[in-house]
């Protein structure tokens, strides 16, 4: 049993690394819990402006996770995820407008609508990949504002629709707009953390890296593409639903091609993270950077680009172990 000897030598080498990883994981969980408690207590300390901005930031972080999910599990890049975010946002607004139901009732509907839209898009494009799929998603994003304006009697046209109903009666609107997206982000991240250990996740990862091997073990490529796109679009729609609630309005201007591009930027900035902390970095970049640069006039695009470059290069310069923990969703 000499191969056992070989493997024992390997496992002995790795045992130290394993213990170190366990300690590091515990530390990460500890820091994460403290961070979450701080976020939960923040509205008591900060003013309305910050709670409003952070509420948007949490929703954006979920949208960023949806893009990162497609990258991590599907190996594909989307430049059109704003469409799925819009699907969630408009579902909430329309359910309120026509059925008079609040966010907690319309949120599951929004997730289903997003997932369905993902499947409807993924099926005809299931044989596309790489840059071709990215351009196909971009076409979606380009078409969306026109489609919304075409059906202006339903979508509210340029003005859009309002989301006014309380989701949690008894709590001030300001706090609802903060805590619901935060809760959404925590729930989505936890669900994805559990998903990472599932057989479906393993199958998706294997088909991404070794399609022939995965097919030989009964994983179908079309299933993988449809599943990946449906889940990603569903998460994006949840983000859209919470975004519409936090901003209390939805309009075509909120979902242009730039929305989709910024989501991709946020995903890159977060290192395609599926964790709360990593996605929040992307969300903060997306939400706060334009505000911080607001006074820079013509310099805004240049400074934004420089900030983007700085964050991406800075994160990639971090040690491998830190980056792995930031990315989350690991075993």
């Amino acid at each position: 049993m000499s191969s056992v000897i070989t493997s024992r030598a390997v496992s002995a080498d790795a045992a130290h690394a394993d213990r170190a990883a366990t300690v590091a994981r515990r530390r990460t969980v500890g820091i994460g819990l403290v961070g979450l408690l701080l976020l939960a207590a923040l509205p008591l300390l900060a003013g309305g402006y910050w709670t409003y901005t952070l509420g948007l930031c949490f929703a954006n972080a979920i949208a960023i996770i949806s893009v990162s999910f497609l990258v991590r599990y599907g190996g594909e890049v989307s430049i059109g995820h704003g469409v799925f975010v819009a699907a969630g946002a408009y579902t909430v607004a329309l359910v309120e407008k026509y059925l008079g139901l609040p966010l907690l009732a319309s949120l599951p509907v929004a997730a289903c609508v997003g997932a369905l839209l993902g499947v409807v898009f993924a099926f005809p494009s299931r044989h596309l990949s790489g840059i071709y799929l990215a351009v196909a998603t971009m076409a979606l994003a380009l078409a969306l504002p026109e489609v919304l304006l075409h059906f202006s009697s339903v979508s509210g046209g340029y003005e859009g629709l309002y989301v006014k109903l309380d989701a949690l009666p008894g709590l001030s609107k300001e706090l609802q707009r903060y805590y619901l997206p935060l809760a959404g982000l925590v729930v989505v991240a936890m669900l994805l953390r559990h998903f990472r250990r599932s057989r479906q996740a393993a199958a998706l990862m294997l088909i991404r890296t070794s399609p022939h091997a995965a097919e030989s073990f009964g994983v179908r490529r079309s299933w993988a593409r449809l599943a990946c796109m449906a889940l990603s679009a569903g998460i994006a729609a949840i983000a859209g639903a919470l975004l519409s609630f936090s901003s209390s309005t939805v309009s075509p201007n909120s979902f242009t091609l730039w929305t989709s591009i910024f989501l991709l930027v946020g995903s890159v900035v977060s290192l395609y993270s599926l964790s709360i902390f990593g996605s929040l970095i992307g969300g903060l970049f997306l939400t706060l950077m334009p505000m911080l640069l607001a006074g820079a006039g013509d310099w805004v695009p240049i400074l934004y680009g420089a900030a983007l470059l700085g964050v991406v290069l800075g994160f990639n310069a971090l040690p491998e172990s830190v980056r792995t923990r930031l990315q989350g969703g690991q075993a």
Binding site: S3, T6, S7, F195, A202, S210, E215, S216, V219, R220
Partner: protein, 259 residues
Amino acid sequence: MNAIAPDPLVVHDLSLSFGGIKVLQHVAMHLKAGEITGLIGPNGAGKTSFFNCLTGLYVPQHGSICLGAKHLERIPPSGRAALGFSRSFQHVALCPELSVIENVMVGLHRQSSAGWLDAFMPLAGGRTERAHNRDLALAALGRLGVAEVADLSPAQLPPGVLRLTEIARAIAGNPRVLLLDEPAAGLNSVETADLSAALKRLRAPDLVLVVVEHDMDLIMDVCDTIHVLNVGTLLASGSPEQIRHNPDVVRVYLGDEDA
């Protein structure tokens, strides 16, 4: 005992070409269950392409493949996996982001039933199945003597152990047809001897086991029947002894020294 006779894998008149290049020409083989069959030949003989035809990754232009009475021509790779086909690859095809045991558990994908709810939520059914699959995967790794590396990442392991992990993935689901493509590549001589013993233990009355390999000592040691491919055609078939003394095989592949 099992009253159903084990099904052989019968390949009849199989031809495969890419454009004008004829990869396989009129290949016919009867691969018996309960035996270990060796498939040898020089590089470019069409051995891996033959495996790809068997698993459905390549669609041959001509010929038939039957598992017992079932014709496989129109069945896609995933369907053949459901019928019990399993394989390892010439180039290790493990996912670097999954741990060793997670990679092996993919071999149980086709016979798992945990749904999407189980995937996202810690429900009892999903947890039980996952624990059961983990036990099966650990047992498969144990049969190859590498259970200790179960929770490591493939990036931490040498090529020989990765090769054994791939074989463990292939056997985890108790396949009916097991195709091993150069399982000894990257293994040192001691590991190859262990592999040889492990392959002999894999022999089962209802398993069609086919091994493509360049290590002649291993092939001659474990195989009951050997088929020799040369530039896409079947050059010879027979017992290890017959193949060892076949003048055509000696001339084309084994060489005088090995004979």
